[in-house]
Symmetry: C2
């Protein structure tokens, strides 16, 4: 049995379910023979269909150039089980080390992009650059999610939400207010 | 004694502490005599200094035009104590009702913008439009936070993180990994 969460295809128009809550994500990338991974907390959903996500990827990150030049990345969603790995990834540079090897992450081939999926993560969203108009001025990439893979369980994994200063908030507890919503707002 | 959380000035370059975790926020606005408030989950921090925040404000919202025409808004951070109010705000339109009156919210004057602070919220960030280059194409506003007010306690309030479908994740539990960070990364 695979030690990784078994994932199934997920509608790209519904990735807001995992990204709108604002978790720390891991961006994986590939340029030529080199792969890399970085932590990211500065992202937002921008549109349901096409499925657009905006990410501010600081030019100081080794991944910035790899993603810009390849035009692709994968947004991977780690759970609290990966907390220490998330922090170590954010405190090292792909210019010096192979982060997949160093931190025991398992790459798997994506379907539509060259960047690898991170098998240990709860969800993996394959992305292509949709619009780079704000990359030069704000390091802001607008990606289209072209394929989504999500673990079958749990329905609501515990995720990490960064506050700065080495401190994360944890989200996992769920409350529903469906009864207060107009049907067209659901 | 005021029934509202007592707030103090907070450095605008540090608002990521409250926004990077990805909570649902309430945007308040004013245009002429009219005020309004909307819920928003699609936002991201873009820069520390100047303090920039990007918000995707759908053109279908009454607030879109008010914020566009006034050039200002306030990003207010509600806690779980306001859950039902947050949902009701998101399921009504300022074109039909006065949401401050209808939902018992208390406006207070801001210092640098015309839009009102929402006193019941944990934090209020006064914003001016910094760049509207993506408003036409993506409804994406880049704001500069020009003044910040944050309640003195609690240090980490429970916040709401929307998943769609009427369901919120709650964040509040804190974990620190300061010891794993390089000093320059804190």
């Amino acid at each position: 049995m695979s030690p990784y969460p078994r994932k199934k295809d997920f509608p790209v128009s519904e990735v807001r379910r995992y990204l709108e809550p604002g978790p720390i994500v891991l961006l994986s990338s590939r340029l030529g023979d080199q792969t890399n991974v970085m932590t990211l907390g500065w992202h937002t959903v921008l549109e349901f269909s096409p499925s657009l996500v905006g990410c501010m990827i600081s030019a100081g990150n080794h991944s910035h150039r790899m993603i810009r030049d390849s035009g692709e990345c994968v947004i991977n969603l780690p759970t609290t089980a990966l907390t220490d790995v998330v922090v170590k990834i954010g405190n090292s540079s792909g210019a010096q080390i192979d982060k997949f090897a160093q931190f025991g992450l398992t790459p798997a081939p994506a379907e539509k992009v060259g960047a690898p999926l991170i098998q240990e993560c709860h969800a993996c969203f394959e992305c292509r650059i949709h619009d780079d108009v704000l990359v030069e001025k704000y390091n802001f990439f607008i990606f289209e999610v072209v394929r989504a893979h999500v673990a079958e369980t749990p329905a609501h994994p515990e995720t990490l939400h960064y506050t700065g200063d080495g401190v994360f908030m944890v989200a996992g507890k769920i409350i529903s207010r469906r009864g207060l919503f107009k049907p067209e707002m659901l």
